[in-house]
C-alpha cells in the first residue's frame, strides 16, 4: 500500500465514522443556559443572592421551603379550587406560534396561559417528558450585554437537557418570546403547573411535554423539525 492508497483509506474511514456518528447516535441536546448547563442543573436555594439580567441587577424571590410544605395538601385531601382529574393522562403542549401554554388531562383542558419561549435561543420542537422537577435552581448563560445569571429560578421542570418550564421573575412580557430556549411562565402559573405535573417515579416517565410549531388539538401538534 503506497502513501496515496493509505491517504484515501484514512479519508474514507474518517467520513464513514463521521456520517455514522451523526446519523446513528442520538443528538445530544444543546444547552438553553450555556453556563449553568455545563456546570450544574441541581436544586439550589440562594435567598440572599443577586441576579443579573439585561445588564441590570435583579432580586430573586425568597423561597421558604417550610412555608411550601405547610401549604401543601395532605394526600387525598380534597381541594375545591383544583379541578384536576389525576386519573386521566396529563400532557403539556407549548405553541411557539401563539406563545400559549396548555395543560391537558386526556382531552380535557386543565389549564391555559401565555408563555415566553426562545428569543435568544430556539426552543426545540419535539415530544419530551419532564425528567426532573426542582423547586428552585440557578440558570446562567450568554455573554456581553446578553449575559444573565439568575438564582432562585422557581418551579423548574426540565424536559430536554436543561430546556425547562419554569417561573420567570425578571420580566413580565408573556405572550412574546423572551427566553434563551426555556419555556417561561408567570410565577403563579409555574407554581400551578409544578404542583400538577409529575416528575419521573418508579420507572414511570414524567409528564409528557410537546413543543409544537403550531398546536391545534391534543392529537394535532404540528412539528416541522422535531429534535425528538
Amino acid at each position: 500500500m503506497n502513501f496515496l492508497q493509505l491517504l484515501v483509506a484514512c479519508i474514507s474511514v474518517f467520513f464513514v465514522a463521521f456520517i455514522a456518528t451523526n446519523t446513528l447516535l442520538p443528538a445530544k441536546p444543546t444547552c438553553a443556559n450555556s453556563i449553568s448547563c455545563l456546570n450544574d442543573v441541581s436544586e439550589k436555594i440562594e435567598n440572599n443572592a443577586v441576579g443579573v439580567f439585561g445588564g441590570k441587577e435583579v432580586l430573586p424571590p425568597k423561597i421558604d421551603l417550610a412555608a411550601d410544605m405547610s401549604s401543601q395538601k395532605v394526600l387525598g385531601e380534597s381541594d375545591p379550587e383544583n379541578n384536576s382529574n389525576s386519573d386521566k393522562k396529563k400532557h403539556i403542549y407549548v405553541d411557539l406560534s401563539t406563545q400559549k401554554f396548555y395543560a391537558y388531562e386526556g382531552d380535557q383542558l386543565y389549564f391555559e396561559t401565555y408563555t415566553s419561549t426562545g428569543r435568544w435561543g430556539k426552543t426545540p420542537t419535539g415530544n419530551f417528558n419532564i425528567w426532573t422537577k426542582l423547586r428552585s435552581t440557578r440558570m446562567s448563560g450568554g455573554s456581553g450585554a446578553d449575559y444573565y445569571n439568575l438564582p432562585n429560578v422557581p418551579y423548574t421542570m426540565y424536559f430536554y437537557g436543561d430546556f425547562g418550564i419554569h417561573g420567570a421573575y425578571w420580566h413580565n412580557n408573556f405572550g412574546h418570546t423572551m427566553s434563551h430556549g426555556c419555556v417561561n411562565l408567570r410565577i403563579v402559573d409555574a407554581k400551578k403547573v409544578f404542583e400538577w405535573a409529575d416528575g419521573p417515579s418508579l420507572g414511570k416517565k414524567g409528564t409528557p411535554v410537546s413543543v409544537c410549531d403550531q398546536f391545534i388539538a391534543p392529537d394535532n401538534c404540528i412539528q416541522e423539525n422535531p429534535v425528538k
Binding site: G54, L59, A168, W170, H171, N173, G175, H176, R186, V188
Partner: protein, 227 residues
C-alpha cells in the same frame, strides 16, 4: 192562591235582581277609568245631544325603561400573584363611564385608590395582561379613544412621579422623540423598569421595537423586534 203567591215571588225576585244589577253597574262605572272626554257626567248629561262627542286619541303612557347603571370589574394579578390591579367601570345613561382603579394585596389588604375618572362614551380604559412590572413597583394601563392610544405608567402606591404628574405618558414621550414611527402596542415589561413597545413606520408597516425606561423616562431604540 199558589199562583198569586208565586207571581209575587217572581216580581220580588225581579226587583231584587234589578237592584243588584243597578248596584253592580254603578260600582263598575265608578271604578272604571274611562278615556278622557268620555265621562258619564259630562258627555251624556251636560253635552247637547246634537254635539258630536269628541273622541280623543287614546294614549296609554308607556313608561321609559329605567336606566340601570352597569358596573364591571376586571382584575389583573402580578406575575407572583401578590398584587392585584382592579378596574371598576360604571356606565352612565349618556354612554359615558366612570372608571376607578385600585391596587391591593392578594389578601385584599393595603388598598390604594389610584384614580377615579369620568370618560366619554368613545373612550375605554383597559388593563393589559402584562401590566405589572416584575418588581410590582409600577404598572401600566391602556386608554383608547378614536384619535389616540395612550399608555400610562403609574406607581403601585399611587404616588405621583413628579409634583405635577401622577403618571408617566409613554406615548407622549415617544411622540416627542420624533422618530417618524407611530406607537402601535406595548407588549409588557422586558426587564426591571423597561416597557417593550412596538411601532409602525411611515408606510404603516412594522416599525422597530423600543424600550421605555420608567426610572429615567427615556425611550431606547432596540435592534431586534419584540413581536
Amino acid at each position: 192562591m199558589f199562583i198569586l203567591k208565586h207571581r209575587t215571588q217572581i216580581i220580588l225576585l225581579l226587583l231584587l235582581f234589578s237592584g243588584l244589577a243597578g248596584v253592580y253597574l254603578g260600582y263598575v262605572f265608578n271604578n272604571t277609568k274611562l278615556p278622557s272626554g268620555f265621562n258619564l257626567n259630562n258627555s251624556f248629561i251636560n253635552q247637547p245631544v246634537s254635539t258630536p262627542i269628541p273622541i280623543m286619541p287614546t294614549s296609554t303612557p308607556i313608561p321609559a325603561p329605567a336606566f340601570v347603571a352597569q358596573t364591571t370589574t376586571t382584575t389583573q394579578s402580578s406575575s407572583d400573584g401578590s398584587k392585584n390591579l382592579i378596574l371598576k367601570s360604571t356606565s352612565k345613561e349618556d354612554g359615558s363611564r366612570t372608571y376607578s382603579l385600585y391596587t391591593e394585596d392578594e389578601n385584599g389588604e393595603n388598598t390604594n385608590l389610584i384614580f377615579t375618572r369620568d370618560v366619554d362614551k368613545d373612550t375605554t380604559i383597559t388593563i393589559p395582561y402584562n401590566a405589572w412590572a416584575p418588581t410590582n413597583k409600577y404598572f401600566f394601563i391602556k386608554e383608547e379613544s378614536p384619535s389616540s392610544t395612550d399608555i400610562r405608567v403609574y406607581s403601585a402606591t399611587g404616588e405621583p412621579f413628579t409634583p405635577e404628574y401622577q403618571y408617566l405618558d409613554l406615548t407622549q414621550s415617544f411622540k416627542q422623540k420624533e422618530t417618524g414611527n407611530t406607537f402601535q402596542e406595548a407588549t409588557g415589561w422586558g426587564g426591571y423598569g423597561l416597557i417593550v413597545f412596538n411601532t409602525k413606520n411611515q408606510n404603516n408597516e412594522q416599525g422597530p421595537s423600543y424600550w421605555y425606561e420608567v426610572p429615567g423616562q427615556s425611550v431606547i431604540h432596540l435592534s431586534t423586534l419584540f413581536l
